[in-house]
């Protein structure tokens, strides 16, 4: 009788300890930014650019494809169904709320977490196992400055940029879908733009920042948490992906509960 309760308690305690360690890592990274030497900013900026290249620019094709297909499917069916009911004005709200504000940030963050989050965790874990992190410390270079801060900044910028690309592509793909179902481009843009409010834009940007922080922090945390065995590398990558995806969904739910 007691064993299942004890197991549940252990699980909860482990989760709380994980959250505490993650929060500590996040604040240590923020504090470390204060001590980044002036010359070190150049080095960190180079790492940031490389990470943006990998996380944002190389991810553009997959984001554009996902966004186009999703938007085409939703809008072509919605145009038909709403047209039958004589409520095509609702198409704008559907596009803005469902795709631009909710699915755009969610799918983009999931794609970045799956693609770059696992790569960051695996790379940092490999660096730790290969002794690079220890060597950096020995040379007086803070691994938080060299490895974590630039990736943190790059992921936030990349998620923000990719969400903008996702939403723009979705709007244009929606126009093609609506056009295929007999709606003119002018009419489509009229109802979509009429439905877009400042609140939607603000919420999308806020989500981009929060999801960027999640994908910038959790993979780095798991990557640097390995102790030195190569078998820990895939485990770190997997934990990073699962942790990031879970956190993204939880935060997405919190946004709906608190801010919509």
């Amino acid at each position: 009788m007691i064993a299942p309760v004890a197991k549940l308690g252990q699980g909860v305690a482990r989760s709380i300890a994980w959250l505490g360690a993650l929060a500590r890592f996040f604040f240590e990274t923020l504090v470390a930014a204060r001590w980044l030497p002036r010359a070190g900013r150049r080095v960190a900026f180079r790492v940031l650019l490389k990470q943006v290249w990998f996380t944002a620019l190389q991810a553009l094709p997959i984001i554009i494809v996902l966004s186009s297909i999703l938007s085409f499917l939703v809008i072509s069916q919605a145009t038909r169904e709403l047209g039958r009911l004589g409520a095509t004005e609702l198409l704008g709200r559907l596009m803005v709320v469902a795709i631009v504000r909710e699915l755009g940030p969610l799918i983009t963050a999931l794609a970045v977490a799956g693609r770059s989050g696992t790569a960051i965790a695996a790379e940092l874990a490999t660096n730790k196992v290969m002794g690079e992190v220890n060597a950096l410390e020995g040379m007086g270079i803070d691994p938080l400055h060299y490895h974590v801060l630039p990736r943190f900044g790059a992921v936030i910028l990349s998620v923000l940029g990719l969400i903008i690309v996702f939403d723009m592509t979705a709007i244009f793909s929606g126009m093609v879908a609506a056009g295929a179902n007999g709606m003119t481009g002018e009419r489509y843009f009229e109802i979509v733009l009429a439905s877009l409010t400042f609140h939607d834009v603000w919420l999308t940007v806020a989500k981009a920042l929060v999801f960027g922080v999640i994908v910038g922090t959790i993979p780095s945390f798991h990557g640097l948490a390995v102790h030195g065995s190569p078998t820990e590398i895939p485990v770190a990558a997997s934990q990073a992906a699962v942790g990031s995806i879970l956190a993204i969904f939880l935060c997405s739910g919190l946004f709906v509960l608190l801010l919509v």
Binding site: G40, G131, G138, I141
Partner: protein, 222 residues
């Protein structure tokens, strides 16, 4: 006078009796010991990358372990460090690895850094391999690049962990000479502290002080 490096009553992993060791200025010192004997912990203790259970380590009179993190990091940049293996960053070329500490911790312009790196690479005879990533370089080239990186700031103290492992006698001798940084009236220009399992006999005349760890005790070798 303050010694460049002093281990005071530190307990080596797996041994009870504390060890005290002074590394004299302008000398090369080597501490030998079998694998996992605890000797390999000394470089990490010296730079406060790891802390001994008892005792303390003073570098130029300063206990790095007691410094705030950012001060400890800045202090370590005064010491050259070659970790076991090589510790090179694998997604950077050998020349970028050598330039990294200069780019991060000095106000030199990119042109000055490039010039200094080129000199270091030429001195260490790896100029031809400068653009290679560590994975494309030989073990000797990697070790030479790691030493060049350790000497980038021209430090007064150099700490080398297992520096001769897997090197030819000739390469080991060259590495030692470069680590010493030339000769002055008082001895070598730099103070060199090394640990390892073995060292080529040919190097003995160039290593003034040698110890071997035997049953937890450091025995000075003649």
């Amino acid at each position: 006078m303050t010694e460049p490096l002093r281990f005071e009553g530190i307990a080596l992993p797996g041994h009870r009796s504390p060890v005290t060791l002074e590394v004299p200025e302008h000398r090369a010192m080597l501490v030998l010991g079998p694998e996992a004997s605890g000797v390999d912990a000394l470089p990490a203790y010296a730079l406060a990358l790891d802390r001994p259970v008892t005792g303390r380590v003073l570098v130029f009179g300063e206990d790095i372990a007691r410094l705030p993190r950012h001060s400890a990091l800045a202090f370590r940049r005064k010491v050259g460090y070659l970790p076991a293996g090589d510790g090179l960053i694998h997604n950077l070329s050998l020349q970028d690895n050598v330039a990294l500490p200069l780019r991060y911790g000095s106000d030199l312009s990119e042109r000055e850094i490039t010039g200094r790196v080129r000199i270091m690479l030429t001195l260490l005879r790896i100029a031809d391999a400068a653009a290679r990533r560590p994975a494309d370089a030989t073990e000797e080239q990697r070790r030479r690049a790691a030493l060049a990186r350790a000497l980038a700031f021209d430090p007064a103290l150099v700490i080398l962990a297992d520096p001769f492992d897997g090197l030819t006698h000739r390469a080991a001798a060259e590495m030692l000479e470069l680590a010493r940084g030339g000769e002055t009236g008082a001895g070598s220009r730099r103070t060199v502290f090394m640990t390892g399992q073995s060292a080529p006999q040919a190097l003995e005349p160039r290593i003034e002080v040698r110890y071997r760890l035997v049953k937890g005790e450091l025995q000075r070798l003649s």
